[in-house]
């Protein structure tokens, strides 16, 4: 479904962020994208949606990422931005959520029903008529995720979906992700989230994919993780040293 062939990109000439990246993701796969700050995770996602133009070849669902396919690709892939403030642009949650479906030609009644269903599934009905600028960070996050779910995309790209969420909402997010049968790529530092929601892990560092394998092969590999400024997931690492007796 997602295919990268030798993709290179830099925000400036001297400084390449992606250096000849190749990988592919099959339909229905659940992939965790990990890597230290500034490794290029967000950049990689932007490349898939044609928000930046790269050298090399990217194709989504059989379509090459180029101007004439952009609309179709963006309909196929939903993208949860790293910063929810940039995601929500309408005055209220409801209006934000129906924006996508209406643009893709759905009727208003149908779209509102879809919004209700989505919010209900996420236990967020109380946010429906809230003003976007009057919400807390975590509420905004959940609402931003809901706007993308309401578009019913074939694939989801999520950039740090669990930041700002309280444990309860994080748990809800995990449940929702696990119920959702679509292809998913989740970029995050929350390795425990990856452990619970993904089967495969891509480790990005120095502009290349330095490891690609099953969750259990990579997230238990302390040496590999530490080499790239990461650590074992908390649930594997266990109780912090100073509390062990």
């Amino acid at each position: 479904m997602i295919e990268f062939k030798d993709v290179t990109f830099g925000y400036s000439k001297e400084n390449e962020v992606l250096k000849g990246i190749s990988f592919s993701v099959e339909e229905g796969e659940r992939v965790g994208l990990i890597g230290s700050n500034g490794a290029g995770k967000s950049t990689l996602m932007k490349a898939m949606l044609g928000l930046i133009s790269c050298e090399g070849e990217i194709s989504i669902d059989g379509l090459r990422v180029e101007q004439k396919n952009i609309a179709a690709i963006r309909k196929t892939l939903g993208y949860v931005l790293q910063d929810s403030d940039n995601q929500m642009f309408m005055p209220t949650v409801l209006e934000d959520m129906i924006f996508g479906p209406l643009n893709y030609g759905m009727g208003r009644a149908e779209a509102e029903k879809l919004v209700d269903d989505t919010l209900e599934r996420m236990s967020l009905l109380h946010l429906k008529n809230r003003q976007n600028y009057k919400m807390s960070g975590g509420e905004k996050r959940m609402a931003a995720i809901a706007t993308i779910l309401a578009m019913q995309p074939k694939g989801m790209l999520m950039d740090e979906p669990s930041t700002a969420l309280d444990p309860r909402n994080r748990r809800r997010l995990i449940e929702i992700l696990n119920e959702l049968p679509v292809t998913k790529i989740i970029a995050t530092h929350d390795l425990d989230l990856v452990l619970e929601t993904c089967d495969r892990v891509l480790l990005l560092a120095n502009g290349t994919i330095v490891a690609d394998g099953k969750v259990e092969e990579i997230l238990w590999n302390q040496e590999l993780l530490e080499q790239y400024n990461l650590e074992l997931p908390f649930c594997i690492a266990g109780i912090p040293e100073r509390f062990k007796q």
Partner: protein, 266 residues
Amino acid sequence: MNKAEHALHEIHAMNELAAMDSPIHRLGALAKVVVTVAYLLVTISFSIYDCSGLLIMVLYPVLVYQIAGIPIRTCFYKLRIILPLVCAVGLFNPLFDRKTILVIGTLHISGGVMSMVTLMMKGIFCLLASFLLIATTSIEEICHALRQLHVPKLLTSLLLLTYRYVSVLLEEVGIMMEAYHLRAPGQKGIHISAWGSFLGQLILRSMDRATALYESMELRGFHGEFYYAKKNYNKRASFIYAVLWIGAFVVMRYVNLTRLIGGIVS
């Protein structure tokens, strides 16, 4: 709250006004846009000496503000900055045009005074009507209506994005001022030595955010058409509303109702 946050608060308050519910809010945007434009054209077309004829035009804002449940006071408060400018337009007319055109008892009213009053009234009426439109209709709906009137996509998108950009800009100013004052306690305003970098940062940051927001719209299928702003509304009621008002405006323009009513009363 600093000044920027205050200004932002007022923009949000406008959005909230537009999101209220009333018979006027429920009408189609197209009807409201057309009625507003007609009102502006008719109001402007009155002769500058026709003060008494113009007076009746106050009926539209007074009535519709009532029905929409928006206190006229709100409008005057929000527009307090430009209102004096509008009123200042004809301020010097009495100096130039001293020919008496009306005598009431011993009072001689010159053309200049008359035209000054008329111009002020025109300005205030137009402001009232425009404010009424944006207080009862969201910017998206207005853009959608303008598209239906075949206003080019480029212009409507520009209108929408400018409106959005102003909020983003204010938001960024608010955030930066807050961050600045947290680290410069006791300072009033921003020190002159920091103006350059403050402004530069502000432009970069708000451009960045505006781009991100626009990208986010594009990612959800926005291509300059405002399908999403199409509301379910009562087509017949909207049509009747538009026809009645436009009809009324034409009557108000050509029949001097103020004098007519005055004549009946006396």
